[in-house]
Subunit: 340 residues, 4 copies
C-alpha cells in the first residue's frame, strides 16, 4: 500500500452483490477508490459503474488482479470462480475480500487456507457481514458481558422472499444458512460439530424440486444447540432474526423498524425485500473496516479459516439433508496463522 493514499480497489463480479459493493465503496467508504471492475457480462459491468466516476472495465478477472494500480480486490463473482481468483490474489500478494461462501466445497477452501499458511500472512477476508451488523454486535457484546450468562441455544430464522426455480436444496444450506453457521462460530467462539436437518412439508409456492423450507439443528463443541429455519420462498419478504438463550435470559435480534404506520385497521412496520436493505449498514461497515485494514496492512473480518470451517459445516449439513441422519463435521487442524 502507498502510505496515506486511498486504497485502489478492483471488483470482480458486478451482479447484485458486486454492483452494490461498487456503489457503497464509491460513495460511502472512506479512503476507497474503485479503479476497475470485471464481469463476464460487460454490459452489466458498465451499468454497475455508471455515474461513479472514472472506473475502467477489465475483461479478464486475472488481469484485474494483476493490474499495477489495483491494491486490493473484492471477489463477488460466481461461487465457482472464488478459489481460482482468491489464489491469484494470494499469488499477487494482494488483500482480497471474497463474498461468501469462500468456495463451494471445503476442499477448495482448504487449498486457500494452505496457500495462505504457506504465504505466512493473512490476506483473505470473507464477506460474513453480519459480524458488522449493529444488532449482532450488540448481542455478542452482551453475551461477553455475561448479561444472560452462559449460552445454551440459538434460534434462527432466515427467510428470503423468493428463490430462483429449481434452486438445489443444498443451496439453502451452502448459500443461506452459511450465514448462521458463521454467526454461531463467531458468537460462541467455538466450532460446530454435528448437524441434523429436518424437512417440513415443501411450500406450494416453490417452483421446482427445491426442498424449502428446512430446519437445521447444529451442535457446538460445548453443546450449544443452534436451530435454523431456512425458507427461501417465504413470499412476504426478507426476514432474518435470532434469539440467543442463555442461562439467565435471552437476547433477540430483529430488523429494527424506525417507523410505525397506523392505517386501515393495522399498525405496521415494513419488512424489507432483500438482504441489501436489511444489512446495508453491515456491508458499509464491513467494507470500511476492510479498507481501513488494507491501508495499514491488517486483515480484518472473517478469515480464510472461518470461510473453510463454514463450508465444512455446510457440507455436513448437506450430507445430513441427503441421508436424513445427523452428520458429523470434519475439520482439519487449525494452522497457527489463525490463532489469535
Amino acid at each position: 500500500m502507498r502510505s496515506g493514499m486511498d486504497v485502489r480497489i478492483g471488483v470482480i463480479g458486478t451482479g447484485v452483490m458486486g454492483a452494490d459493493h461498487v456503489r457503497t465503496l464509491a460513495t460511502s467508504v472512506r479512503r476507497a477508490e474503485v479503479v476497475a471492475v470485471s464481469d463476464l457480462d460487460q454490459e452489466r459491468a458498465r451499468a454497475a459503474v455508471a455515474g461513479l466516476g472514472d472506473i475502467r472495465i477489465v475483461e479478464k478477472p486475472t488481469d484485474l488482479v494483476a493490474a499495477e494500480d489495483v491494491d486490493a480486490v473484492v471477489v463477488a463473482s460466481h461461487d465457482d470462480t472464488h478459489e481460482e481468483l482468491v489464489l491469484a490474489c494470494l499469488d499477487a500478494g494482494k488483500p482480497v475480500l471474497c463474498e461468501k461462501p469462500l468456495t463451494p466445497t471445503s476442499d477448495g477452501s482448504l487449498r486457500i487456507v494452505s496457500a495462505e499458511r504457506d504465504l505466512g500472512r493473512r490476506l483473505v477476508s470473507v464477506g460474513f457481514m453480519r459480524r458488522y451488523d449493529p444488532g449482532y454486535v450488540a448481542v455478542k457484546d452482551a453475551l461477553r458481558q455475561g448479561t444472560v450468562d452462559a449460552p445454551l441455544m440459538l434460534h434462527c430464522v432466515h427467510r428470503n422472499a423468493e428463490a430462483r426455480p429449481n434452486l438445489p436444496s443444498s443451496a439453502l444450506i451452502a448459500g443461506s444458512a452459511i450465514h448462521e453457521i458463521d454467526v454461531a462460530r463467531w458468537l460462541f467462539e467455538e466450532e460446530i460439530t454435528r448437524v441434523t436437518v429436518h424437512r417440513p412439508r415443501r411450500s406450494g409456492r416453490v417452483v421446482g424440486e427445491t426442498s424449502d423450507p428446512l430446519l437445521l439443528v447444529m451442535e457446538t463443541t460445548s453443546g450449544v444447540l443452534v436451530d435454523v429455519e431456512v425458507f427461501v420462498n417465504a413470499q412476504y419478504g426478507y426476514d432474518v432474526r435470532a434469539e440467543l438463550v442463555g442461562e439467565t435470559g435471552t437476547l433477540s435480534v430483529d430488523d429494527p423498524a424506525a417507523v410505525v404506520l397506523r392505517t386501515t385497521r393495522s399498525r405496521s412496520t415494513a419488512v424489507v425485500q432483500d438482504w441489501r436493505d436489511r444489512f446495508a449498514d453491515a456491508y458499509r461497515l464491513e467494507l470500511q473496516d476492510w479498507v481501513a485494514g488494507v491501508a495499514v496492512g491488517q486483515q480484518r473480518g472473517a478469515t480464510a479459516w472461518d470461510g473453510y470451517a463454514a463450508t465444512a459445516v455446510a457440507e455436513a449439513g448437506i450430507r445430513a439433508l441427503e441421508t436424513g441422519s445427523p452428520s458429523t463435521v470434519h475439520l482439519e487442524p487449525r494452522p497457527s496463522l489463525y490463532h489469535d
Copy 2:
C-alpha cells in the same frame, strides 16, 4: 337485595352500548340476571335479548325502574334521559350504573349529587370503564408505587374511526375526551382546574361542520399537564393511548396486541374498530364489580361526584373551544358522602 341470590337487573337503552351490556351481563357476569330491558325502539330491544333467555321488554323505562323484580338498573339510553332515570332510581332506592356522561350538563349532574347526598348513601355508579382496564390499572399501580416518581404530564390520544355527520364539536369533549378527564382525575386523585383547546386544521374526511380533530390541554390542582388529542374521524380505527410522564420515567398504555402478522412486506398487528373490542375486558370487569357491589350493598366504580366533576371539566373545555381562550373549571364543594 335478596341475600345470596342473583342480582336482577333492568337495562334501559339497547343501542350499541346497552345491547353490549345486556350480552355481557347475560353471558359473562357472575350473579347477574337480566330480567328486563326497555328501549324506545321495541324492535331493537327484542334484538338485544334474542337468544339470551327469558328477558321481558318493558315499554316505559320508569316502569322498569319501579318493577318489583328489578334490583338494580343499567342506564344506557340517550344522554338527555340520564338525569330523570338516575333520579328515579334514587327515588326507588335502587343501585344504578349510568353510562357516561352522567348528564349532558354539570347542572343536571349536580342535581343527582344533591339527591344522593340527601338520600345519605351512594347508589349511583358512572360507566367510566377505563378504571377497570388492566393497562390503566397497571399504570395507576405503578404510579402509586413510585415507579416513575411524581407525575408531571399525561399525553393522551383518543381516536375513533368515524363519527356521524355534523356531530357537534362539543361532543368531542363531552362525549369522547370525558374519558380522559376521568382518567386524569382518577390517576392523579385531584381535580382539573383549567382547560385550553387548540384547533388544528379540520380533516377533509369530516362530513359537516365538526371541528375535528382537537387538542385539549388541561391542568390539575398540583400543576400536572394533561394533553388530549381527540380525533373522531381518524379513519383507520379506534385508538386510545396514553403516556404518563413522571420525574424519573414514563408509563405508556396502548392496546396490547396478542398476534403479530408478517405478510406482504409488512409486520403488523390489528387496530380494533371500536371501543367494545378495545375495552371488552374493562366493561366486563366493571359490570362484574358493580354486580358484586350491589350484592353486598356497596357502590363501586366512579361515583356521581366523579360524573359531576367530569361534566364540569367538559363544560370548561367547551367554553374554551368556543372562546379560543383558556377556561377555568367551576366545581361546587364536594359533599362528605364522597370523601373516602
Copy 3:
C-alpha cells in the same frame, strides 16, 4: 342438570392450579357454584375456600364425586389420581374437567376413552386452556381464513422461571411440552406422527439431574414441522410464544404487554412469573365455557381423545429423549364418538 339453575361444582385438588380454579369459579364464572372441595391436605383445602362463601370440605375425593349436590367435577389433583377420579365421574355420569395431562401414560388415557365410548356420550373435558387464549384463538382464526395460506412450521418456546430440584427430564415433555402438543393438534387438526428430541448443554442453574432445556421436533400427518424449546429453569420468568409459518406469511403469538415502562436507560414490559398470570383469561374462559356447556348438557373444550392423543405423543417424545433417536407415535383408532 337442574334446568336454569347454577352448576354445582366439586373441585378435587387445591394445590396452585386447583385453588386458582376454585377462586376463578367462585368470583368470575357465571352460573358456577363451588359447593365442595377435596384435598389430601385439609389445611390447604380450607385455605383455598377461605372467604369464598359456603363451600364444604370433603375428605375422600370419591365421596365428592358421588355427592348428590355435586353436578360436575374439576380434577386438579396429582396426575397419578386422574384416571381413577375421571373414571369415577364417568361411572356417576357427571361431567368432569380434568387438568392436563389426562393421565401420566397413554394406557390410562385410553382406558378413559374406552369407558366414555362405552358410555356413549362425552363427559370428559381436558384442561388444555390455550384453546381459549385470545392470542392462540386469533392465530387459529387467521389460519382458517387463509391469512398465511397452508401451514409449514410452528416454532414454540415454553419457559418457566424455575422447576423443582431433580424434576424428571420426562416431565419437560409430559408436563410442559404437552401444551404445545395439544396446540399443534388443535391448530392443524391432524395428528402428530413422529418426535425427535435434541438435548442442548444443561443449564448450570438446574438443581439435580434434569436435562434442561430440551428441543423437541415433531411432525404432523401432512408434514408440518413443530419445534418446541422447553426450558423450565429459564430464571427470568414464564415465557410462552409461538410463530406459525405459512406459505405466504407468519403469525406470532406472545404475551401482550399493556404497559411500557421507560426508566433508567431502558424501555421495558413485564414478563410474568407463572402461567396463572399469562393465561388467567384463558382459564376463566375455559371454565366459563365448560360451565355453560355443562348447563346445557354439552361437552366443551379438549376431549378425552385429545387427552389420550397428547399423552401418546408425549410418550413418543420421552422414548426419543431416552434413545436419542426419532420415535414414532402409536395411536389407536379414533372412536366415532370423537368424530365431529
Copy 4:
C-alpha cells in the same frame, strides 16, 4: 475546490459535538480530510484529534477560516460565536456547516441571510441533522406519497437525561425544541406562524430555576398543529419521538431497537443516553452529504434561511413562555436565493 481531491476541512470548536464531528469526518466520511481544528481550550483540541493523523491546532478560529489549505469549515463552537465565524466564511467564500442554532437570536441569523443574499450563492448549511435520520426521512417520504393523506398534527417528545443546573428556561426552546421546529418546517414545507407554551409543574429533579418540562403548541400556515414536550431532566435517558397524524393514518418515529433483552421479569430494549448515539447515523450522513456537496460546489441540507426561520420561531416561543400568551412568529420575506 480542487477537483477530484479530498475536501480539506477545518473544525472550530472541539466540545462534545465538535469532537464527534472531527472523529466522524476522520474515520467514516468519504473524501473528507480534517486538516485543522481550533478551540479556546487547546488541551481539548489536542484530545479531539489524538490518533486521527496529521491535524494541526490553530489558535485563532479566524486564522483557521482564512487558512489556504482549508476548503470548508465546520462551526461547532459556542452559539455566541456562530455569527462572526459564519460571516467570516462567507467573506472567505468558503462553505460552512454551522451547528444549530445558527445564531442565538433571529437578528444575527438575518444578517447571515443578508450577507449570503448579497454574495449571491449559498455557502451556509445548518446542522439540523434530523433531516438525514432514516426514520424522519421515511416519515417524510411516506407523507409525500400520501400514505396518511394530508397532515393535521405532529406530536413530539424531546427528552434529555440531564441538563446543567440553572439552564435558562429559554434554552429548552432555543436549544432543544429548535430541532422539532426545523423538523416541522421541513416535513410540511411551510412556516410556523404561532406558538403557545404551557408550563407543567417543574420536576423536583431540576437543579435551579429552569422551568422543566415545557409543552409547546405551534401552528403552521395551513393549520397543522405541532405539540412538543421538551424535558431536559428526564433522568432515564435521551428520548426523541414523533407521531405525525394525517387524515387517514399516522406515522410514528422512535429510536429503533436492534436487540431485545429478556431478563429478571422484564423484556427490554436500551434507551440511549445522548443524542450522539441516537443520531450517529444522521450525523454521519449529514457530514457525508455536506462533503459531497462541497466537492461539487453545491450547498446541501438546511440553509441559512432555515436557520433564520427556526430562530424566529424559537424567539416567538420564548416570548410565549415569558408572557404566558400565544405569540406570533415574525418572518422577513424570503430572498429568492432560497426559493428552490
